[in-house]
């Protein structure tokens, strides 16, 4: 796969993010307005100065009118995008490309989702009329991702009890990280016993192995890199944007063994090439990854090149991806405790990278991070879309 990339051509100069959670008090339009206001205030830019918008939402609204009406924007172009759980990232990717193309000087990518108003558990989907035979009809997201657990144990000879401990560690770590985050949905430490013994949802996944269903919005203001310092003295430069959509082969290919996401491997390789990264294990300062379910994060450590194959469970358990480990993963709490309003999550990950690289992450601030990776996944094992962004504090000299 090959992308020319737009390394260092655009920068993020402001971001906004609402508190995620059961926001019974806010509509989807309220949430996106709150996020946008935070970003505009930080950049000290009036709404009228934004040239175009990209809106990401899975199912909380339709068309660009959702945003233009909520903000009362002035006939500016608004593009609504959707790419499952990678929707927020997709809005960001398209917005960045629009600035890099030279079409616009200042744009915003906004992601929003309202999941708690339905009264149902888990994600809802509005499917087109069908024959009633798609496995997605009956297999819920936690069940689809729970397929990784027995397959991983079988392939690498991992004792199911050890795998259970590793999954528990992921949930424990991300809850512990989220505890320090005032915008996270869940802000309390959860004991490993409670995680391991929680009521089962699918396979061996309990309630605490699943990310929270929540409401929220996040946004990013993007400008040409050479203009970045007009808005802030600490911009974050976009190094890579990579998206891979699976052809759906793995779900019907007996050679696929449910211990990897081929589309994550592809998008990561593309992103590393765009950003000039050769050893992600040492060059990446922090990663925000799609921990929708605990076994997902373990597999992602291998697909993103942070762990050797068959080792992530062991390295996670050893604390290597803890906030004080060798590569902090999901220091803001991740989907697990920050919550997962689908359209907003990709931008929420960037929000944490943005705060960390500006030194504004408060109690959870890491020591001088320079390169951050965000990873967003939509779909399910066997057929997914995967997005990887790499952002950094420094802009390479041009020429």
């Amino acid at each position: 796969m090959s992308s020319r990339g737009i390394a260092d051509q655009v920068a993020i100069v402001a971001m906004g993010c609402t508190r995620f959670g059961e926001r019974w008090d806010r509509s989807a339009e309220d949430l996106l307005l709150d996020a946008v206001q935070e970003a505009l205030t930080r950049a000290d830019v009036p709404l009228a100065d934004i040239d175009a918008f990209w809106l990401g939402t899975l199912g909380s609204g339709q068309s660009g009118l959702m945003l233009s009406r909520a903000l009362s924007s002035d006939y500016k172009p608004v593009t609504r995008v959707e790419n499952f759980c990678a929707t927020g990232s997709e809005a960001f990717r398209n917005a960045c490309y629009a600035v890099a193309s030279g079409a616009y000087d200042r744009v915003m990518a906004v992601g929003v989702e309202k999941l708690k108003d339905s009264g149902f558990s888990g994600l809802l989907r509005a499917d087109p009329p069908g024959a009633g035979t798609a496995p997605e009809l009956s297999v819920t997201a936690p069940a689809a991702f729970s397929l990784l657990d027995p397959a991983y144990c079988a392939k690498y000879g991992v004792d199911p009890a050890e795998m259970r401990e590793a999954m528990t560690h992921v949930a424990w770590k991300n809850h512990r990280n989220g505890m320090l985050n005032p915008k996270a949905q869940f802000r309390s430490e959860v004991s490993k016993e409670k995680i391991a013994d929680s009521p089962k949802v699918a396979g061996r996944l309990g309630v605490f192995d699943c990310s929270g269903v929540s409401d929220g919005a996040a946004c990013a203001m993007i400008v040409r890199a050479e203009d970045a310092y007009k808005y802030t003295d600490r911009p974050v430069f976009v190094k890579a944007l990579a998206l891979a959509a699976a052809p759906g082969r793995a779900g019907m290919d007996p050679a696929y063994d449910f211990t990897t996401f081929p589309e994550v491997v592809r998008s990561a390789q593309d992103a590393y090439a765009q950003a000039g990264i050769t050893d992600p294990r040492t060059e990446v300062s922090l990663a925000e990854v799609h921990d929708c379910f605990t076994p997902t994060e373990l597999v992602l450590m291998e697909d993103l090149g942070f762990s050797e194959r068959g080792q992530a469970w062991k390295e996670s358990l050893a604390g290597e991806f803890d906030a004080d480990g060798r590569l902090p993963v999901n220091v803001d709490g991740g989907l697990k405790s920050f919550g997962h309003p689908v359209g907003a999550s990709g931008l929420r990950m960037l929000y944490e990278a943005w705060l960390q690289m500006r030194g504004e992450a408060g109690d959870r601030q890491l020591d001088d991070p320079r390169i951050a990776l965000t990873h967003n996944l939509g779909g399910r094992p066997g057929s997914a879309v995967s997005f990887v962004a790499i952002v950094g504090t420094d802009r390479a000299p041009t020429g």
């Binding site: 297999v139 082969r249 019907m252």
Partner: protein, 465 residues
């Protein structure tokens, strides 16, 4: 020359309930995802496979039931599609009673080659005799002319029909269970009718009696007295399952065919709003073409116990709290028609360029990218092995939890399926499964039929001649 019986099979669900709480799991019940359509598919599959007959254009499939999944829409066409029969095979419904089965058999014996597919879910009012003494089952008869390749296993010697109208049993089309008059009244009407029909049948055939006499009747007083009403050396009271409604005459005949020797006579007597008889003589072909498992053995198998409240919820007689998930959408007509080869026939596509098997069928090859170079790849009759599995406690189901497996088929191909009659404690990577036609859910009045995987506990042990 009339047609004869070419093949037969019965299908009994694996579930049992103890409606009286007496500790005896005797009542055979269909699972929540089974109905008359799915049970007749299972029976016809077994019957065709055993006798080696393949219905051809001009033949007929008739679906007999008193518990039809649909009115106004033909259910036989669903059975036809699930069996991937030739489109020149006619398919029609005979909805009603045991009498409908006898009528279907009679017209098949005197007409074109026919597969009679019968099944019933016999729901009784909670606490009733119908609930205790009924059975859910399917059965199939393959009827046609004798050929050197497929000789008949039983010849037709004759039969009579007598009709009388009296109020013995009735059910409104929109209720789940029926009502009966006091049984002695029905017996007083049926008994002389049966005697007359039996005498006329045997006289016409020039026989003093039959080796097997099979009496099927929804009136329990009649079947209890069968031995007195029809005096024969070898007698049976219908099927060894309890009364199974429209399928009962075929189940009863299957029980006789399981045991009869070549050259013996079987007299089938169906007493339902009159009497129909059918006299058969078995041939030398019978011993090698009996169904694999005798119905008596299937009925005697202990089966798997279902708590009575669960059974009631399966039948819609007890409204239980659903999971906090939206109910699924009903299948839509056009996509279901476009994808009928997969949805009903479970046929994928194999790339003729590279051999990769796609389940469901695809036009663009997932392996080599070649477009529209595909041939059908049917997998319904294949075995497979579990690649990975889960128990989904969040998914909507009429009987949660849903168990799902990813299946790798022998000969290629992978897809994800729900598991029928699941035993999640026995699931493991590599475990063998086969495929059964079931109902995923019903939404908007539409039954979503599709295939499910069934665990084969011991693949080697299942391989019989």
């Amino acid at each position: 020359m009339t047609n004869g019986i070419l093949g037969y099979a019965s299908y009994l669900p694996g579930w049992r309930v103890d409606p009286r709480g007496a500790g005896r799991l005797t009542r055979v019940i269909a699972a929540f995802d089974e109905d008359a359509v799915t049970m007749s598919v299972a029976a016809v599959q077994a019957a065709l496979e055993r006798c080696g007959a393949v219905p051809a254009a001009g033949d007929r499939l008739v679906f007999v039931t008193s518990s039809p999944p649909y009115l106004d829409k033909t259910s036989a066409s669903i059975v036809h599609a699930a069996l991937s029969l030739d489109r020149g095979v006619a398919a029609d419904d005979a909805i009603g009673t045991a009498r409908s089965a006898m009528a279907a058999i009679s017209s098949a014996l005197h007409g074109r080659p026919t597969v009679v597919a019968a099944a019933d879910v016999r729901t009784g009012r909670p606490g009733s005799a119908d609930e205790r003494g009924g059975a859910d089952a399917g059965a199939a008869l393959v009827i046609g002319p004798s050929t050197p390749q497929t000789p008949v296993i039983a010849e037709h010697l004759g039969g009579v029909s007598l009709t009388e109208e009296f109020l013995d049993r009735w059910r409104s089309p929109d209720t789940a269970y029926g009502s009966t008059w006091e049984e002695r009244f029905g017996r007083s009407r049926y008994e002389p009718l049966i005697a007359e029909a039996v005498a006329a049948t045997l006289d016409a055939a020039g026989l003093p009696d039959a080796d097997y006499a099979v009496l099927t009747c929804p009136n329990a007083a009649v079947t209890k007295a069968a031995g007195a009403i029809v005096k024969r050396a070898v007698s049976t009271v219908g099927a060894p399952t309890g009364f199974a409604g429209a399928v009962d005459p075929i189940l009863s005949l299957a029980h006789a065919l399981d045991r009869a020797e070549p050259g013996q006579t079987i007299l089938v007597i169906s007493a339902a709003d009159g009497v129909d008889t059918m006299l058969l003589r078995t041939t030398d072909a019978l011993p090698t073409r009996r169904q694999r498992e005798p119905i008596a053995a299937a009925a005697a198998a202990s089966g798997r116990s279902v708590p009575y409240p669960t059974y009631l919820s399966w039948r819609g007689l007890l409204d239980v709290e659903p999971p906090r998930r939206p109910e699924p959408d009903r299948p839509a007509g056009p996509p279901a028609a476009r994808e009928a080869g997969w949805k009903f026939g479970l046929s994928g596509s194999r790339c003729t360029a590279c051999g990769f098997v796609h389940l469901p069928p695809m036009r663009a090859c997932r392996q080599c990218g070649t477009i529209d170079q595909m041939e059908p790849a049917p997998v319904a009759a294949r075995r497979g092995r579990v690649a990975t599995f889960t128990v989904d406690r969040l998914a909507y189901s009429p009987s949660p939890p849903v168990v799902d497996v990813v299946v790798d088929f022998e000969g290629g191909g992978r897809s994800t399926f729900e598991v029928a009659d699941a035993r999640p404690d026995l699931l493991e990577v590599g475990a063998p499964v086969d495929l059964v036609f079931r109902k995923l859910f019903t939404a908007g009045g539409v039954h979503n039929y599709f295939w499910k995987a069934r665990q084969v506990a011991d693949l080697a042990g299942e391989e019989r001649s």
